[in-house]
Symmetry: C2
Subunit: 291 residues, 2 copies
Amino acid sequence: MNAAANAAPRALRGRLDLCAINTATLGHRAPIATVIDQVARAGFGAIAPWRREIEGADVQAIARHIADAGLAVSGYCRSTYFPAATVEGARAAIEDNRRALRDAATLNAACFIMVVGSLPPGSRDLAGARAQVSDGIGALLEEARTLGVALALEPLHPMYAGDRSCLTTLAEALDICDALDPAGDGGIGVAVDCYHVWWDPALAASIARAGQGGRILAFHVCDWLVPTTDMLLDRGMMGDGVIDIAGMRAGVERAGFAGAVECEIFSAANWWRREAKDTLSVCAERFQSVC
Amino acid sequence: MNAAANAAPRALRGRLDLCAINTATLGHRAPIATVIDQVARAGFGAIAPWRREIEGADVQAIARHIADAGLAVSGYCRSTYFPAATVEGARAAIEDNRRALRDAATLNAACFIMVVGSLPPGSRDLAGARAQVSDGIGALLEEARTLGVALALEPLHPMYAGDRSCLTTLAEALDICDALDPAGDGGIGVAVDCYHVWWDPALAASIARAGQGGRILAFHVCDWLVPTTDMLLDRGMMGDGVIDIAGMRAGVERAGFAGAVECEIFSAANWWRREAKDTLSVCAERFQSVC
């Protein structure tokens, strides 16, 4: 049990240094250098960049820019999907992830976010996809430990089970962690994203279990809108939907999570159309009043 | 353990008498009398009507029409949502469901499908909604037994957890069954719908558990399309998506299910735009080739 267990949740008012912005929240419209400065200027303590902003660029320079701006890196998004129709495809995905892991280390990221993929085209073999995921993660674990970047398995909402993630619940993610790391040596854990797991009747039990294993590597917030008009790009700002975000944060912090609370909003029709500084301003306000 | 357990799945080729059509599959465009005749003429063995087609009409006459057409009633859709913002609202929902249960008995339905609802407007209290659901179902159980119409708790896909169903997994539905019917006297069980539960990593275990308790009251089929373009009205015809329907049917039949296999497709942009007889013809073909 982590030392922080059973403590009251941290106060976020006046503590944006405990809060992180995932760059997807701003819609990937500006160069990463601009986004780093915007996030830092708004007072946040951390940033979570995406590979599309990093790969092909000077990763060390970006890492320095982030550090010079006073930002930590709460996570690096995200893995290449593991399941593939061929052995070569599966192997290529692992190699791709290995390269990304090294960039995560260069960025000094708290974790590498694993969005695992699901059925290859034409397949209905969900069990097979799950086995490929577990094998792929297993193939990365030693390097993750060597590099000091933990693999954060992120179960996605079951509405993505057909294409984006056969990993749908924290329980299943924790089963993989336990299978690959039975001794609890670390280097592998979970990313708890409100949006993906808020509905789960086993949520409290899974969070407690994750905490006992010291497995909570990331905590992402946004909100579930009713109605939701797009399955991918209609996530809500914290407070605009039906998720009890404060309750969930209390749960993960009781379970020992002490990292940055990271806001990740995909919102093509709303937040991505606003000025970055306005979106960041609302994020800051909602972190302090809703989360 | 049911006597049918461990048997091979039934052959559906040439056995449309084992197959049912949920009237939603035809888009509720024609009067129920017309739909009954269409379904019977196409050779199916059962039908599952909706309350909108029944309430306010002569229920006994409809029941006679269905029986005279040689059709069984595989289920009656569906309950009024239980969670409400007020005590009066919750009570009214139960009374509404009580009336519907009586109609289900008149129709000689195999079960009354319980789609349970979720958060009342303005609420984020998912645990509270779940408690209201359990209480509401409990309030109906004795009458269900008296009438001889079992309550079939249908977990919906978690993408409906905000509004349509706080009941999202078979495990949770079975927990409610066990809590309300600890002695296994019956009158309560689950409806297993491919579309809602196919993604669940605990699916095989939950189906086996349901079978041991004799709790599988209904089995619904359709398919999950990739991509899915509408969260409510874009279900696919069996075979057009990624669900291993045959594998799931084998599972529920191994677990003892011996009722009609029911096709329920909400498809505003595709199947609801076709002639009913064409949709039924494709259903018949897919039941025999895919399911």
